[in-house]
Structure formats: structure tokens, C-alpha cells
Amino acid sequence: MRLTFLIILMFSGFSISAQDIQLDTIICGDDSTFIFYAPRDTAIYKSEWLVNMSVDTLLQHSVEVRNNDTIYLISTLFDEESMSHDTIFDTYYIDLRLKPEFDFIIPDPICYNGDSIILIDNSNYFDSEITPTFTDETGSELPYNDTLSLLVENGDSITVKYVYPDYDCLHHSLDTMFAIKTLLQPTALFESEMTCENEFLTIINKSEYINEQTQYNFEIMGEAYMHTNNDDINFTFLESLTEGSYSISAIVDNSNSCIDNSTISVDIKEVTYVSFYLPMNEYCVNQDSDTIKADKPGGTFSGLDIKDLGEGMAFYKPMQAGNNITISYSLTNQFQCTDTDQQQITVHDRPELELSTLMSEYCELDPDVFLTINQNIENKSTYNITLDGQPYDSSVGLDYIFILDNHGSYEFTNLYEDENGCRDTLISTTIVHPLPVLELDSIITITPGDLIKIGPSGMPAIDYLWSNGSVENSIEVDQPGLYSLSAQNIFTMCEITDTIRIEYDDDIETKLIEISIHPNPTSDLLEINLGQTFTGIRMLDVNGNAINLNGLSIFSTDINGLLILDISNQSLGYYYLIIPNIGNFIIVKI
């Protein structure tokens, strides 16, 4: 850039009388020339100007001054009558000071390269004797000789102050500043970490003089990659590279036309690939186990409940349940490259069997016990029961009815396998204590007034309790009833109850009445059974008249006490059957 200062004075066409011009007068001009006009009357005087000791005959009335000159004016008065000349010499000393034309050449900013920046002063000072100055931001004067050499740091900027002082022509002065700067030039620098072929290549960015707009362009085997995020210190390439050496070209572009190039050499290391085999992908806690073998030794197995045996082998017996449990085998080779084989398995909890309602002790002949296992697959549950060490019973199913018919020591072995194949075994024991020996007569018939003693002989360690509250082994009773006796073993608390029925002898009775008359009502035959021979039997109607049947009005039973009367010919209604000493009975004829 060329900077020109042209100072134009506003006195264009300025004229001054020569007589008025004083010696050494300073004239601040704006133009490069200055015209003086002859101060004499041109009608009278012929004026000639002598400049630089030569007369410009062409100039009569005015003269153009271009420099600090001493000029002369010769004024001649010609008298035609006398033909004489009168000549006047005027001498003028002119100090003509023109305004400088400022012109500075300041180079455009360029990427920093270490060189100084040259500022060129092309200004026309019109031979001014005034010396301008350049100062830096601290006010120190900079060496100046038409050019100013400035050393600006990378991406930096400095300010230069220029002063042209003219105290006589103040408006010729100039006081200004210039900004001189360089563009940030990046320095590309990268390093790479050791990378295995099963890893992503990571390049460590150590480039300098970068800014927020810096872009990084890489090229690996013809493939271009670009990263723009300056927050990333490392650049990871999400494509694996096979084993080998690679040259990666990198360009750091500060997006200000300043770039730098670099080449990165990387080595991709070989990986030893491994795998292992798991026989199952589902296991049961504390039930299943496997020895696992990898295809290449030298690695290490890891994972929950994995016991590494070395030589590429491990023993696995899960002790905790879970889903997606990972078992890994990792091998790191001489290049420190590691390969890992992972497999995920599910480990199920084993069913926790609980046998409900089974108590530790029972008594013989207690109510049946309904046992049930807290699971849900009927045909996967089995009961095996032993009694005193001998097989006693077995069944398939969740439930079992334990019938307490036999005393002894029972052992219940419950086996169960759930839907995952996980199994559990539960062994439960119980004792069925024998009942005390107690046997009462079922029934005793007594005669009213009798007092009898009932109950067994007393047994040791047995408590007795009768239904009437007696705690003796035997009691005396004289009243009919159901008497129950409970005998309880004081150690096992097993109790048995028996009942004895005391009743009066029903045969101790007297028959006061023994008669049977049926059917009644009757339409024809009437059968009378008195159990013994009776005579003098009569029938009366309601008016007391005797009824005559087949010519008889008084009847007798046979020797067995049986009498059959046919009253089919009698009128409907009530009749009295008179049986001496027995009673008067109503017979209804229908």
C-alpha cells in the first residue's frame, strides 16, 4: 500500500505586493508554486522579474515562484516625452514552505516467517528541513531512514506512531499511527502411540501456533481425514489398520492462509487373536461347573467366579446369579498387543426349597399333615420318605399328605428341578412320637345306684385328665354319660384320648302298657294285640251302644293276645274300644 499525503494550501491564487514582502518571510503554501504580481502600475511601469539571475521576459506583471528564492523586480518607468527610463529594482527574499505530500508504503500482513516488516516512507517533504519521527508503543524512537524495519512476532501486531511536526505551518503537521502485524503461522507437530492392529490409531497433536479455526487434514493410504475440534488433544482414527508401517501426511491449516505440513510415521503392531469355548450359556448357581480352555495359552481368564488355572485354562463354578455375566480371556503378545475373547452367560439361582407345615415333632395319629413344596412344576418335584432309615414312601408332585399312622423318625428328601434345569434338594426330618397306651372299655352298662371305677392303671410320665376335670388315672362314676380320658406323655406332650360310655341298663324296666291297635283309622279290619289273653273286650258307638260283630258284642283275644275285628259293615265315625283294665280307645272308621 502506498500512502500519499498531499497537503494543499488554501491560498491558491494568493498574490502579495512585492513591497509588502519582507526579507526572510516564511510563506506556508499549499501549492507547489507561488505567483507574485508586480506591485507597480503596469500602466506606468514595465516590470521585469529576475529569477535565478535570469529575466523571464514573458513575465511582466507576475512571476511564479517555485522555490525558496531571491527574486528581483525591475520596474522601469518610460517617459515617452523624454524618452528616458526610470528603473527601480526591488529585491524579494522568498521562504516558500509547501505542505509535504505524505506517502507511506505499509506491507500487507503475511504469515509469520521470521523476517522483519519494512515500512517505506515515500512522502515529499519539499525539501523541508523538518525531521519526522517514528516511535514504538513505549515511546522509543525507532531508527528510520526512509524505511522502517520492524520485527513482529508470529501472529502478533505492533503499533507505530509517526510524527511530522511543523510549528510554523501547523496545518502541515501530521501525527498518526500505523498497525503492523503478522498472520499466525502454525507449526505442525504430531506424535503417535504404539498401536495394535486391533486398536484405533491415535495421533497426539502437539502442533503449535494454532487458533480456534485450525483444521487438521490427514491422509493415510489415500484416505483423507479431517479434524476440526481443537479441544481434542488426540486424534483417533476409527478405522483399524493392519499390521505394518504407515506414513501419514498431516496439514495444519489455521484458516488464515497460513498452513504447515508434517509427516507422521506409525507402526501398527501384530495382535495374537484368541478364543475360548464355553459348553453352556446358562448355568445354575452352585450347581453347574466347567473347565474352560482357550485356543492359545498365555492369557488370562477373568470374570465373576472364574478361577484362572494358567496355561489358557480356567475353572468356572458360578456362585452368584445374574444376566449377561461376562467371562473374558485376554492374551497380550510380545508387542504388548492384547486380544480378548468375551462371552456372556446367564446364571440362574437355584430353587430354594421350603417344605411348608412340617414340624419337627408330631404325635402318632395326629391329623394328617398336608405338606407342600414352594415350587410350581408338579412333575419335577419328588418326595422320598424314610422311616427309621428304611424306605417308607415316595411320590411325585408338589404336595404330600403325611399320614401319622406310624411313629418313628422320618426323613423327607425333596428333589426339584425348575424350568432352567436348576435343582435343589431339601432334607427334612421329623419325629412322630408314640402315643401313650390308653384303652378304655367302649361301654359299660350299670344299674342305677351303682358306683363303678373306670380308668387304666397309672403309668409313669403320663398325665391324666378326665372330662369331669379329674386328674387321676381312674375315677368313680354312677351317672350315664360319655366320659373321656386324656393321657399325655409329659416329655413328648403326645396325648391320646379315649372315651367310655356309661349307660343305664335299658332292660331294667316294667311294661305298664302293652297294646297295639292298627290300622287306625281303618275301613275294615282292626288288629288288636295285647300280648296276653284278654277277655271282655267291647266296642261302643259314641252314644254308648254296644257294637255287635258277627253276633258277638264281647270279644276275647286268642292265647297270644291277638284279636282281629272286622268293622267294615259299621257306619263311618268314632267308636270306643273298651279293654278292661287297659283302657278306652278311640277307633276311627273311615
Partner: protein, 387 residues
């Protein structure tokens, strides 16, 4: 000798039967109470049980179990207004809530037994001023220790002795029932307890002297009469169960005779038992069929009975005085649906009074029927001669 007596008795009865004037007496001249009145304002429980106690010619006393189970002691007073008989009631005593089992007079007042709302048997002694004198319950605890464990007691009748009362009934023990007798002293404190037969019930009891008693024993296989004493040394059982005899639950002891009433094959029957010679004589009533019956031995040495005669869908009340053979007189009341006989009592020379229940649309009310001692009735379109 015995046969002569029977013949004389029989002939006398025949003569009496043919000589009696069975025409109705003239009420205008005698003006004996004669009515059949249903107390519509006194709604009672379907199975209310009581005895009717004659306080005077015009006043009776009954314990009534209302349909709300409230038991009250009520005095019934007959009045005559403009030759029309009516009955007024007066609630004398609120006894409690429950189901009446028995109510009758005792020498010092009245005794009532009932199952209370907690199914506990309670007896209350009421004095002649109709005030509660003594109350006793919780007899199970006594029975539990004196006899055997019991789950329940129920008593249906009682008899009086000089030293207390015999309560006849049933005990539930060890899951079955036994007929039983409980003796309490005059302060109603239990003294002793006896049982008899399984699945039976002592329906009634009559005391003989201090420690002997007759028991009417009913069971599914029949009825028996039992003579017994405290220690059982007097025990005798008389079989009355032929022909499925069923007793209605009334026993009367008179000297050496015992009169029982009951129903056998829907025939009302009285049985006169001669204790001395251990014989029985049956007398049946010419009303058929009969589904409830009570009888009393009256001062004229006859038996007076009252019962219910079903006919089609109706139930009639009949009252009858029994002669040696058949009834001397018999009245039947057909204006209401009679359900049960509560009790009947004789008012010597003034007639009889019968308390019964009637049913009306599943509600039950007390009916008081008064008949003069000759069996005459007022000119009532709903009464008729049932002979």
C-alpha cells in the same frame, strides 16, 4: 276287688253319661265368664311357653315371650262391658330376653326358666309381689365338675320339693345329649345332678316326698316313666312306649295315681297310672286328629283336656271334659287358626281357662278361652259342639 271297682266306675260313668243334661246353661241367669278372646295387641314368639296361673276368677298370670324375645310377666284381667267380655293386660315385670322354657307357681311366688340370648339357662324366682327375688345361671360350671364336661343345659319343667326344685331337661356333654335332672336348693344353688339316657330328654318331673320323683322321659325310641331318687336306689322305669306313645308333657300326681297326657297316632290320650299295683289305664278322646293336647285333673275327679284339631288347613281349638268313656262335653272353636295349647287351668265351680296361641299371617297371638264348668258356651257363631 280291683275288678269290682272298675265295674262300678264304669257303670257309674255310663249312668252319668245318660243322665247328664248337656243343654247349655242360661248365661243370663248364671253369667259365668264364657269367651274366646285373641289379644291382638300382644304379639308373641311362635313357641312361647308358659303356665297360666289363676290369680282370681277374673285375673290370670302368664309369662310371655314376645316376638322380640322380650320376656314379660303379664297379668290378664277379664272385664265385662255391656255384656261383652274383654281382657286387659298389665305388664307386671320385665324379666329379660330369651326363650321361655317353663313358668309356674311355687309356694313363695313363681319360678321361670329360660334360655337367655347367650344360650345360658337362667332361672329366676319371683315373689308374690312380682319382684325378682333370686336369679341363677351358669349351671354348666357345676355340671362340669359334679358330673362331666358339658356344652349346654336346657330344662323344660320343674317340680317343687321342701328343700328346692328339680329341673328336668337335657344336657349336652361330649358331643351328645343326655336326659338329666338338676336339683337346686331354695336359693337356686345347684345341689346335685343326675343323667339318664343318651339322646333323651326329661320332659317333666313330679316330686314325691323329699328325694323321690317321677320323670317323664322322651326319646326317639319312645317315652318312659321313671321313678327315681337321689342315689338311684328307687329307680324304676316303666315302659309306656308301645305304639310310639308320645307325651305332650303334662304329669299330674295325685295320691297313688299318676295322670299323664299325650298324643298317640294323632289321638289324644290320657293315662292313669296306679303306682301301687303298677298298672295303667288309657282313655282316649273322640276328637281326631289331634296335634297338641293338654289335660288336667279337676276337682270333679274328671280329666279336662284342651287340644288342637287340624282340619284341612285350619286348626281348631277344642276343650273337653272326659268321662269314664268319652267326653262329657266338648266345645270346638273354629274362628281362628289355633296353633298350640299353652296351658289350661280349672277355676272350681267357675269353669276353665285355656291359653293358646293362634297364628295370623305368620304372626302369633295369645288367645284366652273361658268355658264354664258345664261346658256351656256363649252364643258364638264360631263355637260349636264337637261331640
Amino acid at each position: 276287688m280291683r275288678n269290682i271297682k272298675i265295674i262300678i266306675f264304669f257303670l257309674s260313668s255310663i249312668c252319668f253319661l245318660f243322665s247328664c243334661d248337656l243343654d247349655r246353661v242360661n248365661l243370663d241367669e248364671v253369667f259365668l265368664p264364657n269367651y274366646s278372646i285373641t289379644l291382638g295387641s300382644l304379639q308373641v314368639a311362635e313357641n312361647t311357653i308358659s303356665d297360666i296361673i289363676v290369680l282370681s276368677d277374673t285375673e290370670y298370670l302368664m309369662a310371655v315371650e314376645r316376638n322380640s324375645s322380650q320376656i314379660d310377666l303379664i297379668k290378664f284381667t277379664q272385664i265385662s262391658v255391656d255384656d261383652t267380655w274383654d281382657i286387659e293386660t298389665e305388664n307386671l315385670l320385665n324379666i329379660g330376653e330369651g326363650s321361655i322354657r317353663f313358668f309356674d307357681s311355687i309356694p313363695s311366688g313363681f319360678l321361670i326358666g329360660f334360655q337367655d340370648v347367650n344360650n345360658e339357662f337362667t332361672i329366676i324366682k319371683i315373689n308374690s309381689n312380682f319382684e325378682i327375688e333370686n336369679t341363677a345361671s351358669s349351671f354348666e360350671s357345676f355340671v362340669d365338675t359334679f358330673y362331666n364336661s358339658s356344652e349346654g343345659l336346657d330344662f323344660y319343667n320343674f317340680s317343687v320339693t321342701d328343700e328346692g326344685y328339680h329341673l328336668a331337661g337335657r344336657v349336652s356333654s361330649q358331643g351328645t345329649n343326655f336326659s338329666c335332672l338338676l336339683n337346686v336348693n331354695l336359693e337356686l344353688e345347684p345341689q346335685w345332678f343326675k343323667t339318664y339316657f343318651e339322646k333323651g330328654v326329661i320332659q317333666d318331673v313330679s316330686s314325691i316326698g323329699i328325694d323321690s320323683f317321677y320323670l317323664v322321659h322322651n326319646s326317639p325310641v319312645g317315652a318312659d316313666l321313671i321313678l327315681d331318687n337321689i342315689d338311684g336306689t328307687a329307680y324304676k322305669k316303666f315302659d309306656l312306649s308301645i305304639n310310639e306313645l308320645f307325651f305332650g308333657g303334662e304329669s299330674i300326681v295325685s295320691n297313688d295315681k299318676l295322670f299323664l297326657s299325650g298324643i298317640d297316632d294323632n289321638v289324644a290320650r290320657t293315662i292313669e297310672i296306679n303306682i301301687d299295683n303298677q298298672s295303667a289305664f288309657i282313655n282316649e278322646i273322640e276328637i281326631y286328629p289331634v296335634n297338641d293336647f293338654r289335660a288336667i285333673f279337676i276337682t270333679r275327679d274328671n280329666i279336662l283336656g284342651a287340644g288342637i284339631q287340624p282340619e284341612n288347613t285350619d286348626n281348631y281349638l277344642f276343650t273337653s271334659e272326659l268321662g269314664p268313656i268319652g267326653s262329657i262335653w266338648c266345645n270346638r272353636y273354629i274362628d281362628s287358626k289355633f296353633q298350640r295349647i299353652i296351658d289350661l287351668e280349672e277355676l272350681p265351680e267357675r269353669g276353665i281357662v285355656v291359653a293358646s296361641t293362634i297364628e295370623n299371617e305368620n304372626n302369633y297371638f295369645i288367645n284366652i278361652t273361658r268355658v264354664d264348668e258345664e261346658g256351656a258356651t256363649i252364643n258364638n257363631q264360631f263355637s260349636e259342639n264337637c261331640l
